[in-house]
Every structure is written in C-alpha cells, then in structure tokens.
Symmetry: C2
C-alpha cells in the first residue's frame, strides 16, 4: 500500500472519506486513556497534523501509547469525518507500527522554546510549527519569483559567485584562496603572489550579480538573477547576514518608471502567491507572530504604491515637526526611522523614493539632468523601511567613464562593463530585492537568522 500524503487528505478530504489509507510520519503528540487514545502525526507534506484514533482493538495498543515524540511511524486506517470538531476528519487506525525510534532526550518536546535556543538546533527546528511555516513559505516565495519572471519571459541568469574583483565597491568581501596561508608565495616586493593562487589572481565572493546581469540584459532584453550573495561585514544585527539570497532583475529599453512598475508588480505577485498557496501557514503567522500581518499585506497588494522624489521626502521630513535621532538635511542617506515615518505615518502604504543625491549612491546609476541626483529608487514599506533598491543604469559611455574616474576607481577593472556602452547601449534599469527581507516582511519574523535554514553571521557557521 502506497503512502497517502497528509496534504492530500486535507486538500481532497471528500475523496478519501470512508477509505483505507496508509500514512507515514512523525509523532507530534500522543494522548491516551485506558482503552483508547489519539496520536497527532505530521509527515512534513502539510503544516497541520492529522489525528489518528487508536484503541485497544489494536494488538500492540499498549506499546503504541508509549511511542516517543518524533519517532517515525506507519499507520493504516480508515478516514472518517468528524463534524463539529477542530479538524474535519481523523484516521481510525487498524494498524500502527514504529519505523524509527526517537531518543527520550529529543529537544523539541511539547513545551515552548525560545527562537535563540531553536537556532542552536537548526537541524531540528524545521520540525517546529514556526519554522515549518517559515521555510515552506520561503520555498513558495522562491517559486513565485521564478514563476513571475518566467511568465514574463525573463531569462534566469546564474551570475558568478566567485569574482575576480570588488567591482561594485559595495562592501567588505570574503577572500577565497587555496594557497597555504602559513606559507604563501611572495612577489619580489613582499606581497602575496596571487598569480600562484587557484584563479591566478585575487578572488572574492560576490556582493551582487548586477554588473554581470547587465551584460545579459543587453543580450536577452529582460533577465533576472536569483542566487546567494555575501557581505563580510562585522555587524551583529537582526537584519544582516554574511550569506543571503538576492533577486536582481535587469531590463533593457526601460527607464526608472518601468523599473518601479516591475518592482510593484513583483512584490504584489509574491505576496498574493503565498497568501493563496500557504493559507494555513499565513494564518499561523497572523495569529501567533504578528497580529497585524494580514491587514498589512492586504494593504500592500491593494494599494497603488506612492511615488515621491528624495527631495520631496526631505521636505516632508523637515516639515514634519518630528524629532529624529538622525538630523534631516538634503544630502543625507535616509535612515530607517525616516523611511518608516514616510511610509507608515505619511502615506500608510508602500512608497517609491526616487532621484537620490549622486554622492550617496553607486557609480553606475544614471545621472539626472540636474547633475546632482541620480535616477535611483528605493521602495519603502510600512513595518520595515527599505525593501528594494534600484536604479536606471548610466548608459552614456562618456558620463560613466567620467564618474568612474571621479570616484577614483580603476577603469581597466571595468573594461567589459564599459564595452556594454560601446556596442549598442540603450537605457536599462534594474533593482535588487533581498530575498530574506521579503520573507521577514511576509511572515512577521523579525530576525534574519530565523528565515535562513542555516544562517551564517559573524562567528556563526555551524551545521
């Protein structure tokens, strides 16, 4: 007899009623009295458990009531309706057998655990309700992203993880080597001779696939990346990890306004997809993690996102009468407190802020006619602040070269990136979405360590 998945029992209950099924799964709880009892079983296919009714007509009834939490078992029984109770059906067992034992020191007993403790058992935490919900939603959100871009005929590009240089200047990088560190080959002037290293030069882990993505956007018109990126920043916050996943679409023949349109459509698509395809998990988050979640997400998917310029945002903040920790003046980088004020207090919905001062933005962003601002955009959302950052890219060769020189970057490092402006340049745009940011936003989970299966942060690379 083949296993029936608990997901199928819940999703197609009608077709199983009165029928014999076999299920395999792990014991979540057992309650029993003298002659009957209940086992809650989860098989990983569905957020909810199935209730199995056992009684002393089972040969091994006594033994079954002593099966430990988390042992894996096989149950054969008939599916019966249970009108008026919490679950719509249960399984009346005709046979229950243990497959794999579980030691009595199983760490996930019924009592509540702190998320900090659960992080220390990252190999077992997906068996808990919270993490089961988080990581199924993470999986569905990833699928939603691929589906969204596939429907639009975007080409998915695997940009390199290992890079020859820090082209973006976006932050501290992890260096990679196969040299014997205690005995590195040296050049004549006493530096490390990286020509003897694996790649014949210094190599690091990527901080963004954007520059490579642009090369592909100028071939396929519309592309996206979705892969891991890295920051070796020694910051111990709830929002930063050394390893995280990023989505970076890049679109040709498209300006900043097309870019915003795409970002808005994508965010709404992901949220709607998860609400539709993980109703039980989302309900759990709304009930136990963040009581305002549904209201917040509903507001996002049904709003037209607001659009203001950075200069307008500064005006609003200056006129707000609010006391901010970081003083406001034209030219500053907006802090989370500023961003949240704008999106939560002023607009009460997601807001695109565009046209930031060029001095606080990256070299590749397109310079506006005022020569002071660039065609950049950030998407701010209530409850979080910035969730997306993007820009129209500088496609004018002379302007880009001047900007690279102005910033003291090495033009030779960018030879191929500049080539993209020499051979059929066109306006193009793109943005980056931190995948964990959107998962945190959709689940209400507030620490990035709790939305990555095995998080890597300062001092932490266990598992």
């Amino acid at each position: 007899m083949k296993d029936t998945l608990i997901r199928s029992l819940y999703r197609e209950t009608e077709s199983y009623l009165g029928k014999d099924v076999k299920i395999s799964g792990w014991v979540r709880t057992i309650r029993d009295s003298k002659s009957f009892g209940f086992i809650e079983i989860n098989d990983g296919s569905f957020f909810k458990n199935v209730q199995v009714v056992i009684d002393d007509t089972l040969e091994n009834f006594k033994e079954v009531t002593k099966f430990p939490i988390s042992s894996s078992i096989e149950v054969v029984g008939v599916v019966v309706e249970t009108p008026g109770t919490k679950q719509p059906f249960e399984i009346k067992a005709t046979s229950v057998n243990i497959v794999g034992n579980s030691d009595s020191d199983y760490p996930l007993q019924k009592k509540r655990h702190t998320v900090e403790y659960l992080r220390s058992i990252a190999h077992l935490r997906p068996r808990s309700n919270l993490f089961s919900a988080v990581f199924r939603v993470r999986s569905l959100a990833a699928y939603a992203i691929h589906k969204f871009f596939n429907e639009k005929n975007f080409v998915y590009v695997h940009t390199p993880i290992i890079t020859g240089s820090d082209c973006e200047g976006a932050g501290e990088m992890f260096r990679l080597t196969t040299l014997d560190i205690l005995n590195t080959p040296k050049t004549e002037d006493g530096k490390i001779d990286f020509s003897e290293d694996f790649f014949g030069k210094e190599a690091n882990l990527t901080v963004s696939g954007q520059l490579n993505g642009e090369a592909y956007a100028l071939a396929f018109r519309n592309i996206y990346t979705f892969g891991p990126t890295f920051r070796a920043e020694n910051s111990n916050t709830a929002r930063h990890a050394a390893e995280f996943w990023m989505i970076e679409p890049e679109i040709s023949f498209a300006d900043l306004s097309d870019n915003m349109e795409l970002a808005e459509e994508m965010i709404k698509y992901i949220i709607n997809y998860c609400l539709e395809n993980a109703p039980e998990e989302m309900e759990f988050f709304n009930s136990f993690v963040d009581k305002g979640l549904f209201e917040r997400l509903e507001n996002v998917v049904s709003s037209d996102f607001a659009k203001i310029t950075y200069t307008e945002a500064i005006d609003i903040l200056l006129k707000s009468g609010e006391k901010f920790e970081y003083p406001v003046e034209w030219g500053i980088d907006l802090q989370t407190e500023h961003e949240r004020y704008i999106t939560e207090k002023v607009f009460k919905k997601p807001v695109f802020v565009s046209d930031y001062p060029k001095d606080i933005k990256a070299f590749y962003m397109r310079i506006n006619e005022d020569n002071k601002t660039v065609a950049a955009m950030d998407l701010l959302v209530p409850g979080v602040g910035e969730i997306i950052g993007g820009s129209q890219r500088e496609e004018r060769l002379d302007v880009l070269e001047a900007r690279i020189e102005e910033l003291g970057l090495n033009k030779e490092d960018y030879w191929w990136y500049l080539d993209l402006r020499k051979y059929g340049e066109t306006k193009h745009s793109g943005f980056g979405l931190g995948f964990e940011r959107i998962i945190m936003y959709m689940t209400g989970v507030s620490n990035i360590r709790d939305v990555i299966p095995f998080p890597r942060t300062t001092g932490q690379a266990e598992f």
Copy 2:
C-alpha cells in the same frame, strides 16, 4: 507607443498582421540596394530575428543603411505577411531611429568565431546564436526543475554555501577568510588562529548541500536544493568547473527504487519541457551542434530506463570482449569508457547501475546485507556516461557511527547529522544532478565553459 516583443510577433503573428507596431532591438545585419533594404533585428526576447523592410520613402533612409551592427534601434512599421519566404512575416518600416551607437570594432561581426574566442568575450557572447540558444535553454531548464518539484510539493531549501567543515570529504575546497593573510594571528603552537577569523573557525565553500538537505527532508519529507557548489580541483577538462550548480533532492520514507523512479521522471520532465518551450533553440542545436540530438533525446524520454547492479555491470564488461584502457575487475570505479559501453552499446538507452562496492562510495550510503556493497545508484546516459549519482542514506545510527569510525572521520564533526538518526530516523534517499551536465546533454555543447554564463575554472575568474 509601447514596444511589442519579437517573441509576441512570432507566437501570435495572426493578431498583428496589418497592424502598426513599435519594436526596439539590436541590428544583426543590414543589406541594402539603392532604394530599399532589409534590417535583421533581434530584441533578445526570441531566438529568431525579425526582418524589417526599409526603403527610400524613409526620410533618413541613407543614414539608416549605415547603422552599425549591434547598434540599438527603434522601428515603427506595419506587420505584413510574406507567404512563401523563410520568415512568416516582416515589418514594413515607417520610421527607424537609432537609440545607441555601436563602435565599428564590435567583435561579433557576421563571420564565424571559435568558441574559445567567444569565451574571451563572455559579456558579449550571449548575443550570438549559439549562446543565445544555450542560455535561454539553461534558464528554461532551471524553471522546469522548479516546476517539477513544486508540482510534487517538494520544499526548496537554500542550503548554506559557506560551511564550517568539509563534512562530505568530497574533494578539495576553497578556503574563505577575512584575515590579513600576510599577518595572520597565530596560536601558541604556531598555527593560524582561526578563532579570530570571521566565523571564529575555518570556513570553506560547500561541495554539496546533501547533509543539510537531509535535515530538511526529515522535517518536510520531500525537499530539493538547487544552488552553486564548488570544487578547488586543479583539473583542466571540458567537464569540470570550479563553480557549478547542482540539484539535490532528498526524499523520506523512500528507498533506492523510489529514488530511481524520481530521477527518471525528473530527467524526462526537463527534456520534455525544453523541447516544448524552446523549439527554435532545440532545432538549432540539432542542426548545427549535434545532428543526432533529437534522436538521442527522443530515445531518453520514450524509454523505460534499464536497471542493473554494479556486479552485473562488471560481468557484462568482462564478457564483452572489448579492450578497455582501464582494466575491469570487481571493485574498480567505473570509468567513462565502461559507462558509455554499457549505456551505448549494450542497452542503447539510459541505465541505472546500483549497489556499488562500499569502498568506492561515500560514508553516508546505506550498507547492503552483503556488507560489501551500498545502496548507491548512478544514472548513465548515452553520449555522456554518468549524469546522476545518488543513494539510499544510512539511517541506522550504529551502522553509520561504525562507518564514520572505520573511515577515520571525526564523529564530533557529524553530531547534528547523527542526531537525525537519533530522533525519528526513517529510510530516506537522494541524488545529485550536476545542472551543467544536463544542459550539455540537452544542447550537445561539449565544454562546460560554454554552458555557464561566466565560467570559473583553474586560472580563470575574469568578468
């Protein structure tokens, strides 16, 4: 007027006939005589170009005929049927304007280039027919994989890229560090003090997500990974790269036979998906890269894969009368020549070979009752040899511990992996598919460097 994509013109030609459209794209070729001419334009949305007819009723006709190859242009015109010609329609231009110039030294002029040369311009090569086809198929194959597993309710898991130790012992690894290599902190006994490194210990790039994947399979039942993996092996072959992508499904309550069933279904699904969704690209490969491609793929999707044991395979090879470079005896690791003989000469279709000698396989594979072989399986396909490797995993704690000790591995390194056997173990299985292998197989492209957008190999990390 909004752009119409060339893909839409080809896929929904009927609905555009007689209508005015605007397209944006890059000039592939221009041919002209005195009073009229043709421009072939590609906009990246589709493998094929669209033909634009220009004539001297255009104000800037003379100028247009001089637009350089690869310049980006905008065309407005009417879509007209062209019965009896190669393309089903063309665009009769009413206006043609240049958007972005292209220098006359554009490297992808019409003449044929070697793939070696094209690798040196990896930022431009996706604009060529070959690489345009390869990388769209790569994108579609990735989507097919996500779709396949999503339809089966598998949870997609992002296993970590940075790992604290070489748990799998699967090969040489890249070490990661943020230490100043010329001035590393030392311990008292003169070793590098990795406690001062970013993660407080040695860290490397992952060679496989399997062990982490198992933890999630024992929570969600069925999971898969799809992410980059790394090998610091100094091998300069057409089949090996330092950075490549891997798909690793892991299924619970499933034995080796379930594992084979899943692998066979997945391979057929990916191939069918690409044949259906990239007919123009696949036709191109079949015509210009590998004339036997369609026949080979058709054979794969319509065959029931054969199944033999390693011992049977050795028998077949011994009795074959073939002269092999590597001599055959029970206990050897099968070489590509052996694998290809079996799949191409004997079975003429894909073959699963199972139950390999334990001494040539990894510690986590389940030991068979003969205590000599393990429940491993490799999938061999005509034209390539091994394309998938997998196994049933050892779920018995005592057997696994004994195996770890036998191999001289450090049990403490595997504390959490062993935990998975302490708390509700069950039979489970999984396999790994090298993503580039299946792309090479489906396209006929013979060098892995030509199916990765920006390949990383020994001495090569440009772009």
